[in-house]
C-alpha cells in the first residue's frame, strides 16, 4: 500500500492532507485570519502539481487491487485539473471576503472537489468511479450555494436533483454491466467483452453509463440544469464548474469508450445524435439570451457536445483531438470567467452592462475579447486550431458522419452570433461613466486573465508542441 501511494497517489494524498489541514485550521483560527486560507490552498495545489512528477507512468501502474491506475493519460488530466484548480483558487479572493467565517471550510470543499476530479480520472473500477463522482458532485453543490441570495440555493438544488437522477441512471447501467461480466473492474470487463459476444443489454448499459456521466457536461436529456446553475452561481465558482467537472468527465468517458464500452457500435450513434441535439438546443437557446452567464452556459454545453461527438467516434486520432480541444477550451473559459469576476456585478450580467469597457481598460478587455474570439473559433487563437483539429477527426471518420459535421459547422455560425453579442458591446461608445476604481481588481485576477489569453494566443500561433503531446498521450492510452 505504501508502494501504491508513492507510485501513483502522492499528489492525491497531498491534496487530501491539505483538506484535513484546512478543516483543522478552520476550527482553531478566528475568522480574521481568513486571508491565509487562499494562500494555503494555493500552496497545497502547487505541491500536488510538483509531486505529479513522482507518479509512475511507464509502464502503467495499477494500485489498490486494480482500482486506481496511473499512466501518462491520467498524469496529463490530473495536471490540467490541478492547474485549473490553481487558477480557480486564485480567482476566489472576492468571494471569500463575503464568507469570512467559513473561509477555511470553503477551501476544504474546493480542494475536495479537485480531489474528486483527480480520482475520477485515475479510477479503474466502477466503484471508485462512483465514489469520486459523488465526491465531486457533493462538493459542487456546496460551492454553488456559497454565494448569498436565493438564486444560488436554487441553482444548487437543481444541480443536486439532476445529478441524483443521472447517478441513478449511471448505476443502473453499471448493474447491467456487472450482471453481464461479473466484475466492476475496467480491465476485467474489457477482457470479458473482447473474449465474448456482446448483447443488446451490453449496449443499453453502455449508453446508460455514458449518459449518466455526461449529465455533468450538460448533454441532452440532462442539459437544462446548466442555464439555472450558471445564472445563480458566482463567477469564480463558474470558473471551477466549467472546467474541472468537464475535464474529469471527459477523462473518464474517453477511457470508458476506448476500453470497457468499446464493443458497442450503436453507442457511437446514440451519443453522436444526442450530442448533435445538445448542440442544436444550446446554440439556439442562446440566440435570444442577453445574459452573459447564460450565453456562456449554452456555449459550455455546445462545446462539450462537439467534443463528445468526436469522442464517440472512437479512435486514437479522435482522442488526441478531444484532449487538445479540451485543453484549449478550459484555458479560454477560465480567462473569460476571470474577466467576469473583475467587471461583473453580481446581480447584473446583461451584455450591455459591459458596454464600452474597451475604452476604459484596453489591456484587460482586449485579452477578454481575444478569449471570446477564441471560443468562437476565429484565427490566431487556440480556439481556431482546436476547432479545425477536432473537425478533421470527424471528417476522417468516414462519409457517414459528414451530415453530423455539416450540422456542427452550421451550428458554429449560430454560435458566432451570440459570441458577437458578448463581444461587440465592449467596443461601443457609451455615455456610462464607469469608475474603474469601483471594480476591485487584484493581481491574481489579472494574472489569470492575462495568462490564459497569452496561452490562447501562443497555442494559436504554434500549436505543434501541444498537438504532439496530445497525440503521444492518446497513442499511449
Amino acid at each position: 500500500m505504501i508502494n501504491d501511494i508513492f507510485n501513483i497517489l502522492l499528489p492525491h494524498i497531498t491534496i487530501g492532507a491539505f483538506i484535513i489541514l484546512m478543516l483543522i485550521l478552520g476550527m482553531i483560527l478566528s475568522p480574521r485570519y481568513y486571508k491565509y486560507a487562499r494562500i494555503i490552498a494555493v500552496i497545497g495545489i502547487s505541491a500536488a502539481i510538483a509531486l505529479l512528477s513522482t507518479t509512475q507512468t511507464e509502464p502503467q501502474y495499477f494500485g489498490f487491487k486494480n482500482s486506481i491506475m496511473s499512466d501518462s493519460y491520467t498524469l496529463l488530466f490530473n495536471f490540467i485539473i490541478l492547474v485549473c484548480g490553481f487558477f480557480v483558487t486564485l480567482l476566489t479572493k472576492n468571494l471569500v471576503k463575503t464568507v469570512k467565517r467559513s473561509a477555511y471550510t470553503f477551501y476544504a470543499i474546493l480542494l475536495t472537489a479537485i480531489f474528486g476530479g483527480m480520482n475520477i480520472v485515475s479510477a479503474n473500477d466502477f466503484l471508485t468511479l462512483l465514489v469520486s463522482v459523488e465526491l465531486l458532485g457533493f462538493s459542487s453543490y456546496f460551492l454553488i450555494s456559497v454565494s448569498k441570495g436565493y438564486y444560488s440555493k436554487e441553482a444548487a438544488f437543481k444541480y443536486l436533483l439532476t445529478s441524483a437522477v443521472s447517478t441513478g441512471i449511471f448505476l443502473f447501467g453499471v448493474s447491467y454491466l456487472y450482471g453481464i461480466t461479473g466484475s466492476l473492474n475496467f480491465s476485467n470487463i474489457y477482457e470479458y467483452i473482447t473474449a465474448n459476444e456482446t448483447s443488446l443489454v451490453y449496449t443499453i448499459s453502455a449508453i446508460m453509463i455514458i449518459l449518466g456521466l455526461a449529465s455533468k457536461l450538460a448533454v441532452f436529456p440532462f442539459a437544462n440544469w446548466i442555464i439555472d446553475v450558471y445564472k445563480g452561481c458566482e463567477t469564480s465558482i463558474l470558473a471551477f464548474l466549467s472546467t474541472i467537472p468537464k475535464l474529469a468527465m471527459f477523462g473518464i468517458i474517453c477511457r470508458l469508450m476506448v476500453f470497457p464500452l468499446s464493443n458497442s457500435f450503436e453507442l457511437t450513434f446514440v451519443i453522436a445524435i444526442l450530442s448533435l441535439i445538445t448542440a442544436l438546443w444550446a446554440n439556439t437557446y442562446a440566440i435570444r439570451e442577453n445574459n452573459v452567464k447564460v450565453i456562456l452556459a449554452c456555449s459550455a454545453s455546445a462545446n462539450a457536445s462537439y467534443a463528445l461527438l468526436t469522442a464517440s467516434l472512437v479512435s486514437v486520432y479522435n482522442l488526441s483531438t478531444v484532449i487538445f480541444y479540451l485543453i484549449c477550451y478550459v484555458i479560454m473559459n477560465i480567462g473569460v470567467f476571470a474577466y467576469l469576476n473583475i467587471y461583473g456585478d453580481n446581480k447584473n450580467f446583461d451584455v450591455n452592462y459591459f458596454q464600452g469597457l474597451y475604452h476604459k481598460n484596453h489591456g484587460l478587455t482586449g485579452a477578454y475579447a481575444l478569449l471570446i474570439i477564441g471560443l468562437a473559433g476565429i484565427p490566431i487563437t487556440s480556439g481556431f486550431i482546436a476547432k479545425i483539429y477536432l473537425f478533421t477527426a470527424i471528417a476522417n471518420s468516414g462519409f457517414v458522419f459528414v451530415p453530423f459535421l455539416l450540422g456542427l459547422l452550421l451550428l458554429t455560425v449560430i454560435a458566432l452570433y451570440y459570441y458577437l453579442k458578448i463581444l461587440l458591446p465592449l467596443f461601443h461608445e457609451t455615455d456610462k461613466n464607469y469608475d474603474v476604481q469601483k471594480f476591485s481588481t487584484n493581481f491574481s485576477q489579472k494574472f489569470v486573465l492575462v495568462s490564459s489569453a497569452f496561452i490562447t494566443l501562443i497555442i494559436g500561433l504554434c500549436p505543434e508542441m501541444l498537438i504532439e503531446l496530445c497525440r503521444f498521450i492518446a497513442y499511449n492510452i
Binding site: H362, F391, T392, A395, L409, L410, L416, L424, H428, E464
Partner: protein, 495 residues
C-alpha cells in the same frame, strides 16, 4: 533568401505596422497617424511593384522570391507556405493599389478613432494578401476567417461624428460576418474532406495545393466537395441567392471601406473558385461549370435590373459590382485560357472602376449629406471637375473602348463563346452580350439624375474636388486608360 524581398515581408508588413499603430506607445495625434498610415500603404504599393519587377526574373538576388515554405503543424500536414504565381501577383498589386487609394481618401471620411481604423485597415490588407498568396488550404482558410474581424469593425465601426446610418451599419456588419462565416463553414467542410481524401488517395498527409492536384478523388465526393467550396466562395463573390449581405454592407460602410470591399474583397471569392475549383478539382468543375454559367448570367441580368431601380447612389454602385462579378464568374466557367485571362483582367478593371465609382458616390455624399439620387441634383454645376471624372469613369464602367473594362468584357465574351465545355455556357455568353447594355442604363441614370438639373440654393457654396480626391480619381482613371490601351501587359503575363 533575402528577408526584405520575400513573400512573408509582403504579407506581414501591414500586420506588424497595424500592431504598432494600435499599441499605446504610438502617438494618438490623428494627423501623425493618418500621414504615417498613408506612408505605409504608399510604401507597400511601391514594394509590391518592386516584387512585380523581380517576379519570375533571373536576378540572383530575387531567386526563390516566388515561394516560401515553413513547417507549421506537421501532424496535420499543414505548412506555412506562401506562393506567388501570376494571378496572385497581379491581384496583390491591385490590392496594395486599392488600399493605397482608400488610405488617401480616408482623410475626409474618417473623423474618429483613427488609430483603430488604420490598424484594422492594415490587418485587412494582410488577410487579403494572405488569401492571395497562401499555398496551403488551411492557411488559406485561416486568412479567410481572419479577414472577417477587421472587415466587421471597418463596416460597423463608428468613424464619423454624426452618422445617421450608424445603427444600420452595425446591423449590416453583423449580417456580413454571419453570411461570410456560414459560407466559410461550408468551405471548411470541403477543405476537411479534400484533406482526408487526398490522404486516402496519395498517402501523404498534406494540405498544400501542389499535393492535392495529383490526388484522385472519387467523382461523387469530388462533386460534393466542389459544391461546398462553391457555396463558401459564392457568399463572397457573391452568387445570386447568397448576395443579400453585399448591398447593405457596401452602402453603410465608410467610403474608403466600400472601395476596399468592392475593389478587392469580392475578388477573393473569384480567386478562391479559380484556386480550388478550377485548379484543384478540374474534373468536377467541368460538370458544375454550366450551372455556374447560368447563375453568373442571372447575376448579370438580375442585378442590372435591381440596380436600375435603386435611388441610393451607393446602392447603385453596389449592385453594379454584383453584376460585374457575374461576368468574372462567367469568364472562369469557360475553362479556357482566354476566359481565365479575361476573368483576371476584369477583376483588375472592375476593381479600378468600382474604386472610382464609390469614391464619386462618397464625395457626393460628403458634400450634399444625401445619397438619394432624386434629391441630389446639379452636381455638375457646382463641381465641374468631379463631373469630368465621373463621366470618364462611368463611360469606362459601361465598357466604352479605350478603357480597360471594354477589353475585359469583350475578351470574356470571346472566351466564353469559344468554350468547349457545354453549349449552355456558349448560350449564356450570347445572352450576356446584349445584356451588358443594361449596365449603361443604370450607370447613365446615375450620371444623368444626379449630376444634371437645377442645383438647390443651399448647395451653391460647395467646393470642388480637393487634392486628395483629385489624386485618387486621377490615378484610377490613369490605371483604366493604361490597361485599356495596353491590355497585353496583363493578358501576356497570364498566358
Amino acid at each position: 533568401m533575402n528577408i526584405f524581398l520575400s513573400i512573408p515581408f509582403l504579407v506581414f508588413m501591414p500586420l506588424v505596422l497595424s500592431m504598432l499603430i494600435i499599441s499605446p506607445l504610438f502617438t494618438s495625434n490623428e494627423v501623425t497617424v493618418r500621414r504615417f498610415s498613408k506612408g505605409v500603404f504608399g510604401f507597400h504599393f511601391l514594394y509590391t511593384l518592386l516584387m512585380l519587377l523581380f517576379f519570375n526574373s533571373s536576378n540572383p538576388y530575387a531567386i526563390n522570391i516566388n515561394i516560401f515554405g515553413m513547417d507549421w503543424i506537421q501532424s496535420l500536414g499543414i505548412k506555412f507556405s506562401l506562393k506567388i504565381d501570376t494571378v496572385s501577383m497581379i491581384l496583390s498589386v491591385l490590392t496594395s493599389f486599392v488600399f493605397f487609394m482608400a488610405s488617401i481618401s480616408s482623410k475626409f471620411n474618417i473623423r474618429k478613432n483613427h488609430k483603430f481604423y488604420y490598424s484594422m485597415l492594415m490587418l485587412l490588407e494582410t488577410a487579403i494578401l494572405g488569401i492571395f498568396t497562401a499555398n496551403d488550404m488551411f492557411l488559406f482558410f485561416l486568412f479567410w476567417e481572419l479577414e472577417m474581424i477587421p472587415a466587421y469593425f471597418l463596416i460597423g465601426g463608428r468613424f464619423q461624428e454624426n452618422n445617421e446610418y450608424q445603427s444600420e451599419a452595425k446591423k449590416s456588419a453583423v449580417k456580413f460576418i454571419l453570411f461570410t462565416f456560414a459560407g466559410s463553414m461550408f468551405m471548411l467542410l470541403g477543405i476537411l474532406l479534400l484533406h482526408y481524401y487526398n490522404f486516402l488517395s496519395n498517402g501523404i498527409l498534406s494540405a498544400s495545393f501542389a499535393d492535392i492536384i495529383d490526388s484522385t478523388i472519387p467523382m461523387g465526393i469530388q462533386l460534393f466537395i466542389a459544391v461546398c467550396l462553391i457555396i463558401g466562395f459564392g457568399v463572397k463573390l457573391p452568387i445570386i441567392p447568397l448576395h443579400t449581405w453585399l448591398p447593405d454592407a457596401h452602402t453603410n460602410a465608410p467610403t474608403p471601406v466600400s472601395m476596399v470591399l468592392a475593389g478587392i474583397l469580392l475578388k477573393t471569392g473569384a480567386y478562391g473558385i479559380y484556386r480550388f475549383n478550377y485548379e484543384l478539382l478540374p474534373q468536377s468543375f467541368k460538370i458544375i461549370a454550366p450551372i455556374l454559367g447560368i447563375l453568373a448570367l442571372i447575376n448579370i441580368i438580375y442585378t442590372a435590373f435591381v440596380s436600375y431601380a435603386q435611388t441610393d447612389i451607393k446602392r447603385i454602385v453596389a449592385y453594379s459590382s454584383i453584376s460585374n462579378m457575374g461576368l468574372i464568374l462567367l469568364g472562369l466557367c469557360a475553362i479556357n485560357k482566354i476566359g481565365l485571362s479575361a476573368s483576371v483582367f476584369h477583376m483588375i478593371s472592375h476593381g479600378l472602376v468600382t474604386c472610382g465609382l464609390f469614391m464619386i458616390a462618397g464625395i457626393v455624399y460628403l458634400r450634399f449629406k444625401d445619397r438619394n439620387i432624386n434629391t441630389v441634383q446639379g452636381v455638375a454645376t457646382v463641381m465641374p471637375r468631379l463631373f469630368g471624372f465621373s463621366v470618364l469613369i462611368v463611360l469606362a464602367s459601361i465598357g466604352v473602348p479605350l478603357f480597360a473594362p471594354f477589353v475585359s468584357e469583350v475578351l470574356t465574351i470571346i472566351g466564353t463563346l469559344n468554350s468547349d465545355i457545354s453549349i449552355i455556357i456558349r448560350f449564356s455568353a450570347l445572352l450576356a452580350l446584349p445584356l451588358l447594355i443594361l449596365s449603361s442604363c443604370y450607370m447613365l441614370k446615375f450620371l444623368h439624375k444626379g449630376f444634371f438639373g437645377e442645383v438647390k440654393e443651399e448647395y451653391l457654396k460647395i467646393n470642388d474636388l480637393s487634392v486628395h480626391e483629385f489624386v485618387v480619381l486621377a490615378s484610377v482613371l490613369c490605371g483604366l486608360i493604361i490597361f485599356g490601351l495596353f491590355p497585353n501587359s496583363i493578358i501576356g503575363m497570364i498566358n
